[in-house]
Symmetry: C2
Subunit: 537 residues, 2 copies
């Protein structure tokens, strides 16, 4: 392009670019798509594109924004986090959401379990169609997962630990194939999505089959032993400093949830279930496996072992471990890590977040206090979970510190690898630390909150989308205010008390006091950065 | 060389060749050695070389021959076996004895634990200087083993699972580094060698340090738990279809033996022990670890689990496993094998052979019956062990079948890999099946026999060298005759009864009747070939 300008004249060039990519469509089809996008943009102009984008984002913030008074750094970080989760999720388009989203080459673009357990819960309550798309992608690789299960002499589906196209891409089976919990993680997120959206068509078309095939997996992976317990032996839970253990509690509770959920789903959709070959006997076998699920308990210590025998192992020698020997996996052999009590990341504590009904409040506090001094957080998939449970057991300052770690993982480059891309799951975890931690949001059965703020956060307000309604929750030190921004009345719980939220009228409730035990210690040198000290420095 | 012959004249050429090899000596030194050997041969002539060789072998057979009446095939096989063990051992010359001896390229010439546990026991009682040399080779790599222990953050020595020069050469740690029992195996064979030879100089120069450094390993590999048990978690025992288990009974019993033996040895040699830095506190810590060693027991089944929780795992689905799916490791993932009750090879049964005092006769029978239906013998390191225990618990026909498998492994090419070289350990095992099986030889403390023959073997006679004396044992269906061929009187036991064997006078004792339970079954299709059926066919 050339132009001849007279002195004083100005040339303004507006260049419109379009990008198209597909793993399935033909080159001409892609070309047509790009040309059409350019034509539309030319018609709309730059201003038009800008206002479309702004409208999209305004809409998103209108149902998803989190406001924080008292900590502008975390306020900024959580919006940064939500933006990246949105970007990774909204453009997923029935393809996997990778561990780094669309931001970098880390993990070679692979997708793992943390998409379901850390990222999709945020999308489910803020951009549910993106969560549905990600689960539809899982559905699209179901045949490969069934083939993988057959290879392993199991029934149902065995989803890959790391993948792009659906095939297992991991080379070290003790920390991949053996980590069967990914199947229950997918099922859990399907159920979560269904509860939050009530999208019945999704359940019929996608969810039910995912629940059925994962339930079938558990039924054959575990077995009923001679004393009538359902055991799942020789598998790996979330904590990657353990492997090939018997009856990992996270795995067994999530499998139990998977089996019960499959029973309920097939009863809601008997004809679809029939088409999948599910009969009364199979349903009974799932219910039976779930009811008999072995959940080990250490009577001596009064805590739940991460897996059978875990609490009998030697405790890692933290006192002799130097600060520069973290992450441990780069300095010590797996042989040594696997046989001792040391956690890379929350495992039993994650089970207490996701399957909270399986524990009493007292057990949660005891278990949390037990695992804190053993958890080194060499994984970014830990701080947010610890934040949620710390908040639940009343360790609000500690929860605040963990929130800081999850939220600033990339902005402060805490693991010195932000150049590889952001930690989408940790960013999603920042939202979870606020909403499920200080907001106390759970929805096992019905939607419930148990909000409680740490010193230093004066006000927390967040919005979620639940069964088509936008709900706003605002929390201060003394009270919580719930308001439906649209939609018909909704039943929720506030610290255990039922509330029927009317349309368009706020309900305020006081926050009951909490009495927490002493703050648990972390391994030497592995405490999170103290949030309040950092802010004042 | 040329020669001009007249019609009818004959030329006889005697070509003498010498072979020399060394990994340490210089080329000129090797050349000198070869030239010297040739000069000596020229002086001696072919006939001289022949008679030297014959004298060497006559001497060997004079203290080591096994005679078998009633089964000429096994008679031939056991002599073939002894010859190969002799050849591999006699020319070891302080280098490792590899798994294939000097006969083939299998296992790339590497040496494993079976040298100590299967091969050296035979050499100790027939060619003790070869056993001593093999242990001196272990001593020569002690510094590397100590370095390896340091790498693993352990004290003492961690010997390599597979090696030629002393470095660990295995690439899959769950079945190599984690198989720490190799250290107790070496210690066991040191003790065994000491008991059989009374070679005090060897103990001072070599044995003591091996015992001390391996004891130090166990002391740091295991730990005393909160209820005062010494646990060894996350290690792999002999059975390669299990890995990374807690308190493998074979490992724990052998470690206990190692620790007790080190205590006794340092008390016999206080000044050498002092030079190795052993003090009273360390000795007490070894004794304490040994005394508190955790040996799990399954009260419900009344059997000893191979490792903690083993008997709670699902039993392998043998009924659905086709004959062409053996060896299982080529058809099923380790993930599946490790988590179920299926044994590649004897594990707890080997513990009952080597540490028999830890079990009552009734426990041995119950344990043997429990593990038989689970053991598929995908390893050649199993049949001879099963033969020994089958004989001990009175399953004489079954022991005979296992003897056949061990003895004919290579002659009948049972594993279709004899082209890679013979199975030295299995061949040694044929001797062990006869001498420790039907001869009932043990020496925990003192030398004892409990001979008993199966139908089909009319007479078994064997010779061993024990504390400088040649001893001949001859067994028939009804009685056993013990005779010292040289040396001063020796105390032995016959089926528990003490006998003081006089010099040069045979002692005969009747064989008590045995009452065995029903013959245990093996996994479908994995029973050993019936020896008597084969002989009559």
């Amino acid at each position: 392009m050339t132009a001849r300008l007279k002195p004083g004249e100005r040339l303004r060039i507006v260049k419109l670019m379009a990008y198209g990519w597909s793993s399935v469509r033909s080159r001409p089809a892609l070309h047509d798509q790009v040309v059409a996008a350019l034509s539309a943009a030319r018609l709309t102009s730059w201003e038009g594109l800008l206002s479309e984008q702004r409208a999209y984002l305004d809409d998103f913030w209108g149902r998803a924004d989190v406001e924080l008074e008292g900590d502008p750094e975390i306020q900024q970080a959580v919006r940064f986090a939500l933006f990246h989760v949105l970007q990774a999720g909204a453009r997923g388009e029935r393809r996997p959401i990778p561990a780094k989203g669309l931001t970098g080459p880390g993990y070679d673009g692979h997708t793992f379990w943390d998409t379901e357990i850390f990222v999709l819960p945020v999308l489910t309550l803020t951009l549910p169609e993106a969560a549905a798309d990600a689960l539809r992608w899982r559905y699209s690789i179901l045949e490969l997962a069934k083939e993988r299960a057959r290879q392993l002499r199991l029934r149902g589906a065995a989803f890959p630990w790391r993948t792009i196209h659906g095939e297992e891409c991991s080379g070290y089976w003790p920390a991949s194939t053996a980590a069967f919990h990914i199947n229950a993680d997918i099922a859990y997120t399907v159920v979560h999505y269904m509860q939050a959206t009530g999208n019945n068509a999704f359940e019929e078309e996608v969810g039910l089959e995912l629940l059925v095939e994962t339930a079938r997996l558990w039924r054959t992976l575990g077995y009923r032993d001679a004393v009538d317990r359902f055991r799942i032996d020789g598998v790996t839970g979330p904590d990657e400093y353990s492997a090939i253990a018997d009856n990992n509690v996270y795995t067994n509770l999530m499998a139990q949830h998977n089996l019960h959920s499959a029973v309920e789903a097939v009863q809601r959709h008997p004809s679809v279930a029939h088409a999948l070959g599910v009969d009364a006997e199979e349903i009974a076998s799932w219910r039976d496996a779930a009811d008999k699920m072995l959940i080990p308990y250490d009577e001596r210590l009064g805590v739940t072992p991460q897996a059978e025998s875990f609490t009998e192992h030697e405790v890692w020698d933290f006192a002799s471990t130097a600060p520069d020997q973290y992450p441990l996996l780069l300095h010590f052999p797996y042989f040594d890590l696997y046989r001792k009590q040391v956690l890379k990341q929350a495992d039993l504590v994650l089970a207490m977040q996701l399957c909270g009904d399986a524990f009493t409040a007292e057990q949660k506090a005891r278990n949390f206090a037990y695992y804190e001094p053993l958890t080194v957080r060499d994984s970014s998939l830990s701080a947010s979970t610890q934040a949620v449970l710390a908040a639940e057991v009343g360790q609000l300052d500690l929860a605040y510190d963990y929130l800081g770690e999850a939220a600033l993982m990339d902005l402060d480059d805490l693991e010195h690898n932000a150049r590889d891309g952001v930690h989408i799951a940790s960013l999603a975890g920042a939202w979870t630390a606020l909403v499920a931690g200080f907001g106390g949001l759970r929805y096992e059965g019905s939607l419930s909150f148990a909000p409680r703020l740490p010193d230093g956060i004066e006000r927390l307000a967040f919005r979620i989308l639940f069964r088509g309604r936008r709900l706003r929750v605002e929390v201060t030190a003394t009270e919580a205010m719930y308001r439906l921004l649209d939609g018909s009345p909704l039943k929720i719980r506030h610290h255990g008390d039922e509330i029927i939220l009317p349309a368009d009228e706020a309900v305020t409730r006081p926050i009951p006091p909490v009495k927490a035990g002493p703050r648990p210690a972390q391994p030497s040198g592995r405490a999170p950065i103290a949030r309040r000290a950092r802010r004042s420095s």
